[in-house]
Amino acid sequence: MLIKKPADFRYSEVTPKDVYFSRRTFLAGIPATFLAGRELLSPSARALAGNKLPNLAKSPFSTAEKQNSYAEVTNYNNFYEFGTDKDQPAKLAKNFKTYPWTVSVEGEVAKPRKFTIDEILKLAPLEERIYRHRCVEAWSIVVPWAGYSLSVLLKLVEPTSKAKYVAFQSYFSPTEMPVAKFAGISFPYVEGLRLDEAMHPLTMLTVGMYGEALPPQDGAPARLTVPWKYGFKSIKSLVRIKLVSRQPETTWNMANPGEYGFYSNVNPQVDNPRYSQAFEHRLGELRPRATLMFNGYEQVASLYAGMDLRTNY
């Protein structure tokens, strides 16, 4: 075989990560003792990237497939705010300040409110869900996410009868994300789901992975994970959730409507003009594998009963 498989470290064994990433410049000059004190005093430090998320509940939604390594998932990212090369976000997002953080939930809801990241971490018991993640570029990974169903949060704000869709928005700051101007897509990044998709138990509000708070390049401190859709639907670094009555605009659809539809369900029968969607490369494997309908999450099929998935791609 030509390709050597990467060493299969378990994430718990990847000890020198802090050194390796040397995250957060503001930590650099601070004596370690002071830092330790600060984290002990402030319970909210849990939300900081890399901090352990203990007592994750197991989830029946988890796959038993082999997980990708932490190193793979954190050094190979599409996060165009931090560069269009896969290795750029790990480098350019390392000083991204994701604490304090608030997510505003608004629109067609009875109880609009802002959630701090600390509140989000405590809305429901955190679960570990091992999901397949399929990128529209025909590669895939298996990631142990930490979080809970987005429906938990949506129910709290009580969507009105007018709410039919949910619009999501990522954080954007041209000064903190100076390379974003070269990405060729518009920012802030926006995404959307139909309300029933957003309320589906598989749709996850994600705050961590590999038993830790999310690192910046993977969408810290809170992101969406929608495992039956192409990866770009799983918006990163969420700041706004708005319930709306009409189908919201989505970033990739605006950039190239012929290629990226609103639904963007994983579908091996409907090719993207650029990529065949029949096969995918699971990172760490040599042979391509067949892509499954809805990325193998057949339980969502009923959401699309009667719909032509060729036109609603």
């Binding site: 030509l2 990467p6 990708n68 165009y80 269009t84 896969k86 060729g184 650029r274 065949s276 391509p288």
Partner: protein, 210 residues
């Protein structure tokens, strides 16, 4: 200096450097989380760079008055073909895993594949006929005409790149502009030669080299 024998040896080693770098990264398991994509991009980048360099030889030797540069064009061209072949084979064997059904579907449906294949196939006869023996067999003029196929590669390769990227088109546009410049130079010098040599009898002794 350019006439020295070792100049070609140096160039040969320089052209191999990217390959050694790739081999080194392979050896050290440092081909990123997606080695297939990394190898594809790496070899593609070097193929297009070297294609542009071969096309730059003629303008540079005229503009800088360094006619000896021509001695190196064949080697640069062959290395462009070498990296393009690795690029093609990576796609064919590793990405598509020799799945002819998927490959044929790609040819027909994806314009970036069609353009990439055109760019590669145009180089194939040039690589084959690159030897002195073939120049003699074909005769200088016919050989030269055949080798103008590189202009097709010069257009198809940046098109392939442009259609491939999703949104950040800076590099494809850079290569497209470079190709445009290099081809415009030829168009301009051809027009200029035609105007200054009204009659066929006094036709330029040095025809526009590909």
């Amino acid at each position: 200096m350019l006439r020295r024998r070792w100049a070609k040896v140096v160039l040969f080693l320089l052209c191999l450097l990217p390959f050694f770098r790739l081999a080194w990264r392979f050896w050290n398991n440092d081909l990123t989380a997606n080695p297939i994509e990394y190898i594809t991009h790496f070899t593609g980048d070097w193929a297009i760079r070297l294609v542009m360099m071969t096309l730059a030889v003629t303008p540079l030797r005229r503009l800088l008055h360094v006619p000896d540069l021509i001695r190196f064009r064949r080697m640069v061209g062959l290395f462009a073909f070498f990296y393009a072949s690795l690029h093609f084979l990576t796609w064919f064997g590793l990405d598509k895993f020799f799945d002819m059904h998927e490959i044929l579907k790609d040819f027909a449906k994806r314009r970036f594949i069609t353009a990439g294949l055109a760019a590669f196939l145009a180089m194939l006869p040039l690589a084959v006929t690159s030897t002195t023996g073939w120049i003699r067999r074909l005769g200088g003029r016919r050989w030269q005409a055949l080798h103008r196929l590189i202009y097709l590669t010069a257009i198809a390769a940046p098109a392939h790149y442009y259609w491939l990227v999703k949104s950040d088109v800076r590099w494809p546009l850079f290569y497209a502009s470079l190709a445009a410049l290099l081809l415009l130079y030829r168009a301009a010098s051809w027009l200029f030669a035609r105007r200054s040599n009204g009659t066929p009898a006094t036709k330029s002794a040095e025809p526009a080299v590909p």
